[in-house]
């Protein structure tokens, strides 16, 4: 008698926990043969609002960690993903990738995490400045994380799209709520499990599944979301997000027609898109001299 396989219930990831949607709704995820492989949560407005509360709490903690600590934690996610690569390759193949494509996507995702792990204690060094003001002041400019970022992840990739958008956002200290690819949500949920075992504080990364069209109005109008990343080509959705952003002047970043598998689409400037610029003036005591700054 052959063994009966145990099937996994795919849940969402909010505040370091794995709840099902409060709405009780689901959608069927099908493999390339059209067979149902999972019942995914159709996340609701309430789920999103809960996630924002968790993300805001986590932001305080996460943004106060040292850059070195954040660097090591991103590296830890890569280590965990490396250890579970077989599972991800399998899941990507279930939803249509060839073995080679799936391997490529998983390996590129691991390397991308390491790429951004490296930037944690470096991006400031290429983007901050000391400003030679005309006066006796030490004047310097640095970047700080924007806060809570809501993300509509790319629809066309299950894993690399998720990793490529989450890593640059959290590396500077932001927290995020990400809506995973609807049609390729399988490994998004598995990625949450990797995150959960990588010393990432609960709430820093929140992953929802569901329908973008339904959730975009809520993502873009929430007043405690500081910035929003939209990955997609839908003109109407883009316009709606930009219009809605005026409720609290969200910083909107739109990424369209991006091949996330390409290394040219990883960049420190993607990190600084989700930062604020802060300048500090500090006096320099100059006794008996006209005095200048630095």
């Amino acid at each position: 008698m052959s063994r009966i396989e145990v099937l996994k219930t795919y849940k969402m990831y909010i505040g370091g926990k794995f709840p099902r949607t409060e709405s009780g709704r689901y959608y069927s995820l099908k493999n390339t043969k059209g067979e149902e492989i999972a019942n995914m949560c159709t996340g609701s407005r309430k789920d999103f609002r809960n996630a924002v509360v968790e993300a805001r709490k986590a932001f305080e903690l996460w943004s106060n960690r040292t850059a070195y600590n954040r660097s090591q934690i991103l590296y830890r996610i890569a280590e965990m993903l490396e250890g579970r690569k077989a599972q991800f390759i399998d899941e990507l193949m279930q939803i249509g990738s060839t073995k080679k494509q799936a391997e490529n996507e998983v390996f590129t995702s691991i390397d991308r995490l390491i790429y951004y792990a490296g930037w944690a204690d470096k991006y400031q060094q290429i983007s901050s400045s000391v400003n030679p003001v005309s006066g006796p002041y030490f004047n310097f400019t640095i970047q700080e994380p924007t806060g809570v970022v809501a993300v509509i992840a790319p629809e066309e990739n299950g894993l690399i799209g998720l990793v490529s958008t989450i890593a640059p956002i959290i590396v500077s200290g932001n927290s995020c709520i990400v809506l995973a690819s609807e049609s390729k949500a399988l490994c998004s949920v598995s990625f949450a499990e990797v995150v959960n075992s990588s010393d990432v504080p609960g709430g820093v990364i929140n992953i929802l599944t569901g329908n973008a069209e339904e959730l975009i109005p809520h993502f873009s109008t929430h007043k405690d979301v500081n910035s929003m990343l939209y990955c997609g080509n839908d003109k109407k959705a883009t316009q709606l997000i930009k219009e809605n952003s005026t409720t609290n002047l969200k910083r909107i970043v739109v990424k369209k027609d991006i091949d996330w598998m390409k290394n040219e689409n990883e960049s420190p400037y993607f990190i600084t898109k989700f930062t604020e610029v802060k300048t500090t003036w500090h006096p320099i005591e100059k006794i008996g001299a006209s005095g200048s700054g630095y």
Partner: protein, 490 residues
């Protein structure tokens, strides 16, 4: 209203029970060969020298004595590795190798800390909390730069140099190896490194870690030996870059030796840092900073705050607080977690320090050392103060590299700056004041590569380290530390 000053009576029974770090998990070999081309090879001379524990004078292991032939083999192995593998790897893949080194160092941190203390004499608290974690952090930091060099130097097309010859000192053996190897590898170079002869062990353990990390053979080569082995590295025609940390005297010899070549060079040399305390400073914190500044690692620190400049109005109180604090410092067994000041690294260094202490007395300065007995075996030196010194005294001008502090006073900020800058050195300085604007006035006028404000002896991989004037040139650490291992189009 005057506050009553209270003080611990240290003459009462304040002896602490020993709290010895366990050494049982440390696996040292009896004999260490040279690490060349990914293999452990015997020195061509067949000669070995002893490395001893300076706290007990007992032998820890035999270390291979590398000579000209061994250095030549190492340079050739490094060149081959550079040509065939390392320079051909993408930055991303290079970075992943370096991350591996960082991770294994973290995994073996306790063992490395214990060996560092046994071999070098520094308190286990320091090797455990500072040397080893910082060394791992250096590899972690530079690993991340390997695929990002174009961002560090935009429009300059950075390229690796080739084979780097590196010579490290005995005061922070593993940390200095990390400072040198990590950026060299990240920038795509291969390495021939010689550790100081009294403290080779942790560098050899690092070679084992590099082996475990699976780096291609010959990317890192370790040739142990004394100064003449180092000279062979400096003079070898297959070396593209020299990185040296050590005394200003040897640094000048090296610069002279390679004058007729195109070898790139960075020198991290001696120092005689002024630690400047203003009357508005938080004095208790300043006293802790003075103690940390000069007695950290027995004063075997190139950036040690070996000159204390105190504003005259608070001189008496600072001196009294400092003497009180010194009475509570524990000099003794480095492996004991209570120890503040460990063993002097070697007999010859102890002789040098004692020579300067004698000289200080002869120059007419007044000496203070707390009471207490030192162990008969091992090399020890009590924390020592000199007061009543003149700017021209040798104990004010020259680097002693031991727990010896010379104290001077000043009245005005200009006087403090003049005195602070009045040595041939310019590595570091310290400023203690509650007034931020005064700090920045000082930092803008002190001729030193690092200025610590209301702190001292702080190090971080992201923060460049290096000197002005005769303290050397080039920087280690931070973005600027990459420059030493790259060539540029412009």
């Amino acid at each position: 209203m005057s506050k009553k000053e209270t003080k611990l009576n240290l003459k009462s029974n304040w002896d602490l029970a020993p709290s010895l770090e366990s050494t049982s998990h440390v696996k040292l070999k009896n004999k260490y060969d040279l690490f060349i081309g990914g293999k452990w090879v015997k020195p061509s001379s067949g000669k070995y020298f002893d490395t001893i524990n300076p706290a007990t004078e007992e032998k820890l292991a035999s270390i291979a004595n590398g000579n000209k032939k061994d250095v030549d083999l190492a340079v050739k192995a490094a060149r081959k590795a550079y040509d065939t593998t390392w320079s051909k790897l993408s930055g991303k893949e290079r970075g992943k190798y370096i991350f591996r080194i960082a991770r294994i160092m973290q995994e073996k941190a306790k063992e490395l800390a214990v060996v560092e203390t046994l071999d070098g004499g520094k308190p286990i608290r320091e090797s455990r909390d500072i040397d080893i974690p910082l060394a791992a952090n250096h590899f972690f930091y530079y690993a991340g730069w390997a695929d990002k060099l174009d961002y560090a130097f935009p429009n300059r097309n950075p390229k690796s140099l080739g084979v780097a010859g590196q010579i490290t000192p005995w005061n922070f053996p593993l940390l200095m190896a990390a400072w040198k190897i990590a950026p060299a590898l990240a920038c795509g170079n291969t390495v021939v490194l010689k550790p100081a002869e009294t403290t080779s062990l942790t560098t050899l353990l690092l070679a084992e870690i590099i082996e475990e990390a699976g780096l291609p053979a010959g990317v890192v080569n370790i040739v142990t030996g004394a100064g003449d082995t180092g000279a062979e590295i400096v003079n070898h025609s297959g070396i593209d870059k020299i990185a040296f940390t050590g005394s200003t005297g040897v640094g000048k010899i090296i610069q002279n030796a390679i004058a007729g070549t195109d070898k790139k060079i960075t020198l991290e040399l001696g120092g005689k840092a002024a630690n400047i305390v203003f009357e508005d400073a938080p004095l208790d914190q300043a006293v802790e900073g003075i103690v940390n500044g000069i007695f950290f690692n027995q004063g075997h620190v190139c950036c040690a705050g070996s000159r204390l400049l105190v504003q005259e109005s608070v001189y008496d109180i600072v001196l009294r607080k400092l003497k009180d604090r010194m009475e509570s410092l524990i000099v003794g067994n480095p492996i004991d977690k209570n120890t503040d000041i460990g063993a002097i690294n070697s007999k010859s260094q102890l002789d040098t320090i004692n020579h300067y202490i004698k000289l200080g007395k002869e120059e007419g300065a007044e000496i203070y050392q707390p009471e207490g007995k030192l162990d008969k075996k091992g090399y020890w030196c009590k924390p020592t103060l000199f007061t009543g010194v003149a700017q021209s005294n040798r104990i004010v001008q020259e680097e002693i590299f031991g727990p010896v502090l010379a104290i001077q006073t000043f009245r005005t900020i200009e006087e403090a700056i003049t005195k602070a800058n009045n040595t041939p050195y310019g590595l570091s300085a310290g400023v203690w004041t509650d007034k931020g604007s005064k700090i920045f006035n000082m930092t803008s006028q002190l001729r030193a590569g690092i200025v610590w404000a209301n702190t001292f002896n702080k190090f971080d991989p992201t923060s460049p380290f290096g000197g002005y004037k005769e303290s050397g040139f080039g920087r280690e650490g931070g973005l600027h530390g990459l420059e030493a291992y790259l060539s540029f189009e412009n």
